[in-house]
């Protein structure tokens, strides 16, 4: 357990007895090894940055690696609940892991605050007063891409996503706000690395634009191959494929691509400027959206402890719902199902010196909540 104690010690978070406020113990379950580790590492680093900045010695964070395996995540959650007696869980990156952990953690009376994953089930029929998403509802960025495409005058889009629930939600979310025609609708294989066949279909489809949702390595592969194919239709996608880490691997192929995001490093507010500068100084790299969401989550939790004792659950939940913290996304509040109400932006990929990054070009949606509030009864 060296790493756990080590992390806690490094962050100078040793519990001190006799503080004015009750101690809060946060359990963070995230992906730190194997494929997809970069997302979890950013989440953790953003979160811990906020905790360190707060300098609160009554808050303790235990962190463990879920290896991106649902059963491991469940096991860690059980350990954190049973043995370490955490008050709050957070940190899961992937929707399928969240589905494994969140409902049963809520059923055991724990508050879960999501730094990223926010599947439709947990926003709709499966919502809970103990579950908060600080990131978005999974469909949001796709909806914003649809709204952007409709507003920008596209009327014959080619849309594609991997064939799994998040992919199907993505295309449905896009179509919710996009009212033009479809030149093609394609589901690729999850984990697919070669998109030659799809690019040929795009070329032949007569589309006027392409929307794609291909997270992680899939997006890198697609963008590189698309850039080399000679097809030069405009491309739109959610921020997942235009993350700081991914952009450096894609290179020139991503330039000028539009993507939708709830956050960008050039978002103009004081909290964000401070966050970006502090993150760069602490870790020597630019923050990603996962880091920003981790940072916001930590600040939300810290803000709630100022107002209520974590052991008084009803009061603590109410304090969380007030969202009284300086979000790096500017204005931020919770909708009736504990998912964010926030603006969603359109960014464009640019090159700053040797670094590929994003800049905001417009706002796709203002005060967007989500499509599942009616289904949520709590």
């Amino acid at each position: 357990m060296a790493i756990r104690t080590h992390l806690a010690a490094a962050a100078a978070l040793a519990v001190l007895a006799g503080g004015a406020q009750a101690d809060m113990k946060i359990g963070m379950i995230t992906t730190l090894s194997g494929g997809g580790a970069s997302l979890g590492i950013d989440t953790r680093d953003g979160f811990m940055l906020a905790v360190e900045q707060a300098g609160r010695d009554d808050v303790e964070v235990v962190i463990d690696d879920d290896q991106r395996k649902p059963d491991v995540a469940v096991q860690i959650a059980d350990r954190m609940i049973q043995s370490e007696k955490v008050d709050v869980l957070t940190g899961i990156v992937w929707s399928n892991l969240a589905m494994a952990v969140v409902p049963s953690a809520n059923a055991q009376g724990l508050v879960y605050v999501s730094t990223n994953a926010a599947p439709a089930q947990l926003a709709g029929a499966g919502c809970s007063p103990d579950y908060f998403s600080v990131s978005y509802q999974n469909d949001n960025l796709h909806e914003a891409a649809g709204a952007y495409a409709a507003g920008a005058g596209f009327d014959n889009m080619f849309i594609m996503a991997p064939n799994y629930p998040a992919g199907q939600d993505s295309l449905n979310g896009f179509k919710r706000f996009y009212d033009g025609g479809l030149a093609g609708e394609v589901y690729t294989e999850l984990g697919q690395t070669d998109y030659a066949a799809e690019i040929a279909q795009i070329r032949a489809s007569g589309a006027d634009g392409v929307f794609f949702f291909l997270p992680g390595g899939m997006g890198i592969s697609f963008l590189k191959q698309y850039a080399d194919s000679g097809v030069d239709l405009p491309v739109v996608g959610p921020a997942f494929s235009f993350d700081q880490a991914i952009l450096q691997a894609v290179g020139d192929a991503a330039l000028e691509v539009k993507n939708t995001s709830t956050w960008s490093k050039d978002l103009d507010n004081a909290a964000n400027a401070a966050f970006v500068a502090a993150f760069e100084e602490a870790y020597g790299r630019l923050p990603s959206i996962y880091a920003a969401q981790g940072y916001d989550t930590a600040n939300l939790l810290l803000s709630a402890t100022q107002k209520a004792d974590v052991s008084d659950k009803a009061a603590f939940r109410a304090a969380l719902a007030e969202a009284d913290f300086d979000s790096v996304r500017g204005k931020f509040s919770f909708a009736s199902n504990n998912h964010p109400v926030q603006d969603i932006y359109v960014r464009e990929v640019i090159k700053e010196g040797d670094i590929y990054t994003n800049k905001i070009v417009s706002t796709a949606m203002t005060d967007r909540d989500n499509a599942y509030m009616q289904e949520c009864r709590m």
């Binding site: 580790a37 970069s38 064939n163 690395t193 279909q201 070329r203 592969s221 080399d228 880490a245």
Partner: protein, 306 residues
């Protein structure tokens, strides 16, 4: 669906098949001569891609990167052969599966430890980028054409090596009777190390070539490895010719299945569920192909009867 699109998709299938062949050739050679199942072959593919990305970033030369990929993979292959693999030749397949499974863990996490969790940048050189127009008006990326060319040349080179050189004679002799060629004074362990390094170099080359248009990241080797296994099982384990035919079959089935099955389902169902069902079936298609081949010919298309 226009004939041009179909022709383009066939080219795509061919290209992915030819790259699979580079992976499968090494696997099947190693199995044919040494009787070894190497699950860690995908790791050598990853080593090639990472070495290429590192060298390309340092020197900016694509050709140097390719050379580095082959050298690094061959080096890693030879090292692994000397330290681990040669103890496995006379073991049963179970031990080989387990030991090479262990090697995957070591390679993957070791690479992540060295290079970090973030994907690396590796791109195709300017002189190979962009599309060209083929007869019939097909726009096709030059780089993918080059991949087809390289793959077919490697196949031809391997055939020459095995059919017409002294080393080839030893390799074929090794496939037939290990004890005998050892008794005839051939340094069998050196031959094995060499074959293993050759197979590794091919995997490394494939990793670098494919990595240039995909994402260079830890774990990139495993999906390709499983496909390569499917290829050599269809072709018949140990047969280079089988690996080539199997690779092309798998490449074409995978590409064309993904394109045409959803279209086919649209004839009988509404578009949204047709795309989902068709895509689901397409992702299973190569495994169905493999099961069908094995039921028909239990040792693959060109495999020797056991």
């Amino acid at each position: 669906m226009s004939p041009i699109l179909i022709a383009e998709q066939v080219l795509n299938g061919l290209q992915s098949g030819v790259m699979l062949f580079l992976m499968a050739a090494g696997l099947t050679l190693i199995f044919g001569v040494m009787g070894l199942i190497n699950l860690a072959h995908g790791s050598l593919y990853m080593v090639g891609a990472f070495a290429a990305a590192a060298v390309a970033a340092a020197t900016g030369s694509f050709l140097l990167a390719l050379a580095a990929a082959m050298a690094a993979a061959a080096g890693a292959g030879a090292l692994v052969e000397l330290v681990v693999i040669r103890r496995l030749y006379d073991r049963d397949h179970l031990d080989q599966v387990l030991a090479t499974f262990a090697l995957i863990l070591i390679f993957s996490e070791g690479t992540r430890w060295l290079f970090g969790s973030f994907p690396l940048y590796l791109d195709i050189p300017d002189w190979l980028s962009g599309p060209v127009t083929l007869p019939g008006g097909i726009q096709y990326p030059l780089y993918r054409l080059a991949l087809i060319g390289i793959g077919l040349s490697v196949a031809a080179g391997l055939w020459l090596l095995i059919a017409h050189t002294r080393i080839g004679i030893r390799i074929r002799a090794g496939e037939n009777d290990r004890e005998m060629i050892a008794a005839l004074g051939v340094d069998i362990s050196r031959l094995y190390t060499m074959i293993f390094a050759l197979g590794a170099a091919l995997a490394g080359l494939a990793g670098a070539l494919v990595g240039s248009i995909q994402s260079v990241q830890v774990g990139m080797g495993e999906p390709v490895l499983i496909l390569a296994f499917v290829v050599i099982v269809i072709g018949g384990i140990g047969s280079i010719r089988g690996a080539l035919i199997g690779a092309l079959l798998v490449g074409l089935t995978d590409t064309l299945g993904g394109v045409f099955l959803p279209e086919l389902f649209k004839l009988i169902a509404d578009p949204a569920s047709a795309t989902a069902t068709g895509s689901a079936l397409a992702s299973m298609s190569i495994y169905i192909l493999m099961a069908a081949v094995l039921v028909w010919r239990p040792t693959g298309l060109f495999g020797a009867a056991t």
